[in-house]
């Protein structure tokens, strides 16, 4: 009976888990290191991705094209009040955007790229409200709604949502469609964003199509969101299309996680600081480059020395100003302090000399 199947299944799961654990503890842990592999710079890697040829291009195309015959069904489900949730392995960005641009031509479509690092949902909502307003305009000439005289971008999220949800004088088919690529992406992973998306999806004038890639994506939502707000209709649409854009913001596992990345971020931070602050940093860097010690490390610069040097160069006028700069450096981990054997606070920059030279070169430009 099915109950047995279920137990079997649960048993199978736990068995697999413990087997895996056992395998790990019984066999000797391999001591091989990632750094033994011939590593490459992230920059180079990114360039290489773009040129990489992908296997099964033809089959992937056939697979993606085979979903086209379901477009009519998807539209039907959208009209029935469901939100479409596409899952399965492979980037679904191309697929759902193609769906939106061929089958959803009657509605305005806004695409949200959830794989990016941050998204302002308020702005999105304002755009949606403006689009809906535009769509409703012909019908609401006679209607005089005092609330809508206020421009949308000054309204609160609640007002915007109630506008999108509100009953309007129309035939009930004025919709704005929201396409969310990676609704489980980094920008949308927090519960507040998901709450807003759910409230948007529940609006009577909004249709939602979303894609999800993470196996644990359903954990983002509670039952209220899943069944009443998003009202998901799941579609399994594996595409095997490489996650090109979606992967951009993941730090690659086999790249040099060190220098290239840190030099880049450090130079961005430094460039945003005042010229004086940059010069103070240069003083520390020069000291470090000029005094390499035998073991590939450097003599650290005592704090008092730094103050003296900086004062001489007219970079700072008091200890307080210097401390302000140093706090800024420490906050961004550009500089670290350690106490030396004499009990003095010493400064150093946690970078290799190559990286440091590169950094100095970049900020001097």
């Amino acid at each position: 009976m099915e109950s047995n199947d279920l137990e079997e299944e649960e048993f199978g799961f736990s068995r697999n888990y413990f087997l895996a654990k056992e395998l790990c503890s019984s066999s000797k842990k391999s001591a091989r290191k990632v750094s033994d592999i011939n590593l490459v710079d992230e920059q180079e890697l990114r360039e290489a991705y773009a040129k990489l040829e992908f296997k099964h291009e033809k089959e992937i195309n056939n697979l993606v094209n085979s979903y086209r015959k379901s477009y009519a069904e998807w539209v039907f489900m959208l009209r029935c009040g469901f939100g479409l949730l596409m899952y399965g392995f492979g980037s679904k960005k191309g697929l759902i955007e193609d769906f939106a641009s061929t089958a959803l031509t009657d509605y305005s479509v806004v695409v949200i790229n959830g794989y990016l690092q941050s998204i302002n949902l308020k702005q999105v909502t304002v755009t949606l409200a403006e689009l809906l307003m535009e769509q409703l305009k012909p019908q609401r000439k006679l209607e005089n709604h005092p609330k809508n005289q206020q421009p949308f971008h000054t309204q609160s999220m609640d007002d915007l949502i109630s506008f999108l949800d509100g009953p309007h004088l129309d035939d009930g088919e004025s919709f704005v469609c929201v396409v969310v690529n990676n609704i489980d992406g980094p920008a949308l992973r927090d519960s507040e964003s998901q709450q807003y998306l759910a409230r948007l999806a529940a609006c009577s004038h909004i249709l939602m199509v979303a894609s999800t890639d993470h196996v644990n994506a359903p954990l983002l939502w509670n039952k209220k969101m899943v069944h009443t707000e998003f009202n998901w209709y799941w579609y399994h649409v594996p595409t095997y299309v490489p996650y090109k854009v979606e992967g951009i913001f993941f730090p690659p596992i086999l790249a040099h996680s060190g220098s290239a990345q840190t030099v880049k971020t450090a130079s961005i931070v430094l460039q945003s600081l005042t010229p004086n602050a940059q010069n103070v940093f240069k003083v520390v860097a020069d000291h470090q480059l000029a005094n390499p010690d035998g073991e590939g490390k450097w003599l650290r610069m005592p704090l008092n020395n730094l103050y003296t040097v900086c004062r001489e160069c007219f970079l700072v006028s008091s200890q307080i100003t210097l401390n302000a700069h140093l706090t800024e450096f420490k906050d961004h981990e550009l500089v670290k302090t350690r106490r030396n054997s004499d009990g003095e606070d010493c400064l150093y920059i946690p970078l290799t000399s190559d990286a440091l030279q590169k950094l100095i070169h970049e900020i001097s430009q």
Binding site: N61, A103, T228
Partner: protein, 665 residues
């Protein structure tokens, strides 16, 4: 984006400019104003006539869905509202009583506009916030969203001013200001930037609002931030004393039964589910979800899928043709001399469904005494086979069953033949009084169904007479020894019970056909459990892993499918990587993993698995370039696994290992 081999056919949109924008407008609604009849246009079919036919089909499907679903939804809402009416009336009474109590102790000379209701000295009632706790008997709050909306509407209709707040309004982030804002928004019907209690107070003192009780409904109070809730209560009144009154709502199982009765049994114009789907939903309700919301959503999906199949829209020609091939209709026609008569088939369908439903309800009336839920009974009735209703069979089943009836059955396990038989058993054990009550109920339930109703009435009068007779005998024999009387009474009763039971049995035998033999049952009973399951629940965890491990099945390529189960270089990179993961424990050494991958993609299939190559030391320039490409491929594959969440990346503590997240499908 799909790599486009053929720009004509492949979905290739140039989105490169927009890839890095947080959001963008893909296109605006087409300028063509969609008319109410023909608003769907999908340019997938080449011919214009095809397109318009498609459009017509889509619209008629949608109309079918709309009709069916609005009907079903209306029924469900109505049922749930009616279930709660008594509780709501109780709350209403309590509100007005409390409000009168506040009024009665109000001092006449109040002028303070800043307090909600004046707090007279030494009068405890004025210092209370009257609070009702409404217990939902439900772990999930999702079922009660509509309950609280309904309660708000109910109280508004009886002249209260109501604000519905939820736990989101009581978040620590927005603090007490956030909930005050929502409160003012709901009472004053306008957004206020600087919420203050005095605004509410002065609004309340206005002529039209004064003398009305002010109700704040807080939904899902367990999830509110306790400090914010505390502040909120402090703000409502200077004192902390809450005068609490308790009310209870029905359990999810009760609601479920009410919905099943109204939607699946009493209504003919709503979706119906077959045995597989009903069992699936029952098990999911009992084991996993426990909410009515999921059940309602499932009904909605069923309605939509049925609309999509189009078989229930018999007006359309292709659907009609398909319907002609339905086995149930063919069987029906065979019995009627092979002429296809739609009208009679449909009316037969309706008749049999009504008979079936009313008999299920009759049985449920009995089952209630044994706390058998309608959900269980309904699922079992759908599964029953016709032959089980032969008198001998039923008895046999009962014998088998009585031995196991008191076994501790786990609640989630649907036992074969259990509930129906148990209900029959119950019928034999009822007292005369209960039996009369049940017959009264049956009489009501079968109204409008001529075949049964008359017989029920006949039986009712017969039984009433016999019960009277036996009481009369009882009085006569009251002087005889007690044991004898008892025995006599019992025999009397059991003959009456036996009569009723055999009546119901004969009704079953006569009128209940197994669902499969009802003509056109395929149309009204939605039973595609796989479709429903994937649409309703999805299963990303299992499916995404299966996509990776069985990529060759989905891609249908000629190169990889020959070597079933063996890793070949031509396979999808991420697929190879993930298959290799399966060979490791919960921690995977990145170095080894990487080299196994390299070995797979550089070697012919047979040697691939075992040979681990050490760090490549390229001798030729060409080799190094090739190795680089492979490295890139593997890194891309790891990134993809990271996106799917199947791996946990190295941490500072274990920089050389990734961790597996999923074990087994």
């Amino acid at each position: 984006m799909a790599p486009s081999a053929d720009p004509e056919t492949s979905p290739s949109i140039s989105t490169t400019n927009t890839d890095l924008q947080p959001f963008f407008l893909l296109h605006k609604a087409s300028s063509r104003k969609p008319s109410s009849k023909t608003r769907r246009r999908i340019d997938l079919s080449p011919k214009a006539s095809d397109a318009s036919a498609q459009e017509y089909n889509d619209n008629s499907r949608f109309e079918t869905f709309k009709l069916l679903w609005s009907n079903t939804e209306f029924i469900i809402k109505d049922v749930l509202k009616n279930l709660n009416t008594t509780v709501f009336d109780g709350i209403d009474k309590w509100v007005h009583a409390s409000f009168d109590a506040i009024h009665a102790c109000r001092t006449p000379d109040f002028t303070t506009a800043t307090s909600m209701y004046p707090i007279p000295n030494n009068v405890p009632i004025g210092a209370q916030i009257f609070t009702a706790l409404l217990f939902t008997k439900n772990v999930e709050s999702v079922d009660d969203i509509s309950t609280f909306d309904d309660l708000g509407a109910h109280l508004r209709s009886s002249g209260c001013l109501v604000a519905n707040l939820t736990s989101i309004d009581f978040s620590a982030k927005n603090g007490v200001g956030g909930c005050l804002k929502t409160l003012l928004r709901q009472f004053l019907l306008a957004g206020i930037d600087a919420p203050e209690m005095s605004i509410l107070a002065s609004w309340y003192n206005e002529q039209e609002n004064y003398d009305k009780p002010l109700i704040v409904i807080i939904d899902d109070v367990e999830r509110c931030s306790s400090s914010v809730l505390n502040d909120f209560i402090l703000m409502l009144s200077a004192c902390l004393y809450l005068s609490v009154c308790e009310f209870n709502l029905g359990t999810p199982a009760e609601r479920m039964d009410a919905v099943i009765e109204a939607v699946l049994l009493r209504s003919f114009q709503s979706v119906n589910i077959g045995k597989h789907v009903s069992t699936f939903l029952r098990n999911y309700f009992l084991r996993h979800d426990g909410t009515l919301t999921l059940f309602v959503k499932a009904l909605r999906i069923a309605t939509a899928q049925q609309g999509l199949d189009g078989e229930n829209n018999l007006l359309r020609e292709p659907a009609m043709k398909r319907a002609l091939e339905l086995p149930s209709l063919q069987r029906f026609c065979e019995t009627r001399g092979n002429c296809i008569d739609w009208v009679s088939a449909l009316s037969e369908l309706k008749r049999l469904h009504q008979l079936w439903s009313s008999l299920v309800m009759c049985l449920y009336e009995v089952g209630r005494y044994h706390k058998i839920s309608l959900l269980d009974l309904y699922c079992e009735m759908l599964k029953l086979k016709l032959q089980n209703f032969g008198a001998n069979d039923l008895n046999l089943v009962e014998k088998d069953y009585t031995t196991s009836v008191h076994d501790n059955q786990s609640p989630g396990c649907l036992q074969d033949k259990g509930y129906v038989v148990r209900a029959f058993q119950m019928l034999r054990d009822l007292s005369a009084m209960e039996l009369c009550k049940i017959l009264d109920r049956w009489e009501m339930l079968t109204r409008g169904i001529e075949e049964i109703h008359e017989k029920v009435k006949e039986l009712q009068s017969q039984i009433t007479l016999e019960v009277k007779q036996s009481r009369h005998d009882l009085r006569k024999e009251s002087k005889r020894p007690a044991a004898r009387t008892y025995k006599n009474d019992k025999t009397n009763n059991s003959t009456i019970n036996e009569k009723v039971a055999s009546f119901l049995q004969s009704m079953f035998r006569e009128y209940i056909q197994s669902i499969e033999s009802i003509p056109l049952q395929e149309i009204i009973f939605f039973d595609n459990v796989d479709n429903l399951n994937t649409a309703l629940i999805g299963d990303p965890r299992r499916r995404i892993q299966a996509d990776l491990l069985e990529s060759r099945k989905l891609l249908k390529c000629s190169c990889c499918s020959k070597n079933d189960g063996v890793l070949v270089p031509s396979m999808h990179d991420t697929s190879i990587m993930y298959t290799l993961v399966q060979e490791h424990g919960d921690l995977i050494n990145v170095h080894e993993w990487f080299h196994s991958f390299m070995a797979v993609i550089s070697n012919p299939p047979l040697k691939a698995k075992k040979k681990l190559r050490m760090s490549p030391s390229p001798k030729k320039r060409k080799d190094s370039k090739e190795a680089r490409t492979k490295t890139d491929a593997s890194i891309q594959a790891v990134t993809e696994l990271q996106i799917t969440g199947l791996l946990r990346m190295p941490t500072k503590r274990r920089p050389d290992y990734v961790q597996r997240v999923a074990f087994g499908l």
